[in-house]
Amino acid sequence: MTWISKDWAMGGIIKGLIVTLKHVFRVGNRPTVTVQYPYEKMPVHPRFRGLHAIDEDACIGCGICEVNCPNSTITIVKHNTRWYPQVNMGMCLFCGICVDVCPMNAMKMTGNYELADYSRESLIYGPDRLLFKKEVN
């Protein structure tokens, strides 16, 4: 007699149909949640881990970030008489350890996540692309 207890009216399907219909006609609080990406961007969280940035005046070129990077992403290179980290974004796993270990708080991470590029070479971000100067106020 199991067939008697079956849901022959297909109540589950009808319930589901009603839910999807409510989505189609936006009944209740059912807004479109996606955005038109290239034209419109989602706000980035303040602690988002994106492309690096290095404070030009604070960095002392100590190399602690180089030593601590789990993927050996960072190499210290010479740039205008001083030594700065160079980051290979193709290998970075965006763990943020380099930011945490920096003794001078020179290493930062920005909200820039649009890092796709055409070649492996252009993924290596030298100091010329990473350095920023803190405004003195």
Binding site: I13, G16, L17, V19, T20, L21, H23, V24, R26, R30, P31, T32, V33, T34, Q36
Partner: protein, 382 residues
């Protein structure tokens, strides 16, 4: 004189050919053209040209509909999933199907090395042409029908029965296990669901006593008690549900999309196809969606008949073909929307569940429906 008769709605045309001849006559260019052809003794050529023009118009209509349907499908899925869907190409992404078509035409046409070349090339055509042929006895509106066959419904069912062969050809010729699996599933499904489909259709034929689609639609015009439209959905609720489920299964749409179950069989029977041949499968799929919905509307929802059309003032009788076409298209889109809505709601079934439902539930219910209809008809209830 003729125009006056048309104006008051006294004359009806049997098919679009007569309508075109009437319009040409009305503008006054039919006789000169006819005389030119008669000079060379080629009157039949004029007839052929007019029929070809009809077919071309049908073809363009179907292609535009199919393009619109692909857009609509993506939009409906997007709305259900709280997304936007195509938005960039054209207003609200309306030109996206055009871009997809251009992309598909530009793609390389790959034939696998071990494929059966002839069968592989033939299959997309064999699936595409029946999808268009089905429209020939379908009334799009009053006197908007290519040809009113007196075996229209039988013709439609027979022509739709060609598509499993094309699917099997595609699956076999691809020389690919996924394609073959998809093709075998599709054929099993089509064969099991054509039976309840045909049985549900026969119940309607019992009510009208005619296989002609025009007769079926005419039998559904008018109302009961002045407010219930005389549609067969009210006489045949079970038949309507069975026919709808069986036709969704015939279309191979989501609760029953075993022929191309993406998560199991890559893309089913057209895994190996690319470029224009893939586009033909795609077009055939949506043409099929439209034709099957149109058949559901013709059989159960009154086709082009508007329930209160007879109360429209006689001065508007000349607009009847246009009004009826609009009614037909609106009803068809309601059914299409239902199919898309169902597709976005339910997951795919298992193949054994599909066959169980087909053979153990749908066919007995369809036979029961047929029996009940026959008994009630003999008892004189209808």
């Amino acid at each position: 004189m003729l125009f006056l008769a048309m104006w008051t709605g006294d004359i009806m045309f049997e098919n679009t050919y007569e309508l075109i001849v009437f319009i040409l006559n009305f503008i006054g260019i039919y006789d000169p053209i006819y005389n030119v052809f008669e000079m060379f003794g080629l009157e039949y050529l004029l007839r052929i040209i007019i029929v070809l023009a009809e077919i071309a118009a049908l073809f363009v209509f179907i292609l535009l509909t199919v393009m619109f349907l692909t857009w609509m499908e993506r939009k409906v899925v997007a709305m259900v999933q709280a997304r936007y869907g195509p938005m960039v190409t054209g207003p609200r992404g309306l030109l996206q199907p055009v871009m997809d078509g251009v992309k598909l035409i530009g793609k390389e046409d790959i034939i696998p090395a071990k494929a059966d070349r002839w069968v592989f090339t033939l299959a997309p055509f064999l699936i595409f042409i029946p999808a268009l042929l089905v429209f020939i006895p379908l009334p799009f509106g009053e006197s908007l029908i290519i040809s009113d066959l007196n075996v229209g419904l039988l013709y439609i069912i027979a022509i739709s029965a060609i598509s499993p062969i094309a699917i099997l050809m595609a699956g076999w010729a691809s020389n690919n296990k996924y394609s073959l699996m998809g093709a075998i599933r599709a054929v099993a499904q089509d064969i099991s669901y054509t039976i309840p489909l045909a049985l549900a259709a026969i119940s309607v034929v019992l009510l009208t006593g005619s296989l002609s689609t025009v007769d079926i639609v005419t039998a559904q015009s008018g109302t009961w008690f002045g407010f219930i439209p005389k549609w067969f959905i009210f006489l045949q609720p079970l038949g309507f549900i069975l026919f709808l489920i069986a036709s969704i299964a015939e279309m191979g749409r989501i609760p029953f999309d075993f022929q191309e179950s993406e998560s199991e069989l890559v893309a089913g029977f057209f895994t190996e196809y690319s470029g224009m041949k893939f586009a033909m499968f795609f077009l055939a799929e949506y043409a099929h969606l439209f034709s099957v919905s149109a058949i559901v509307v013709t059989l159960f929802l009154g086709g082009w008949s508007v329930p209160f059309l007879s109360s429209i003032p006689a001065t508007f009788a000349v607009l009847i073909p246009i009004i009826s076409l609009a009614a037909f298209v609106i009803k068809t889109y309601v059914i299409i929307f239902f199919a898309m809505w169902l597709r976005d709601t339910v997951p795919r079934m298992r193949i054994d569940q599909l066959l169980n439902i087909g053979w153990k539930i749908m066919i007995p219910l369809a036979l029961l429906n047929l029996l009940a209809t026959a008994i009630l008809l003999t008892a004189g209830v209808f």
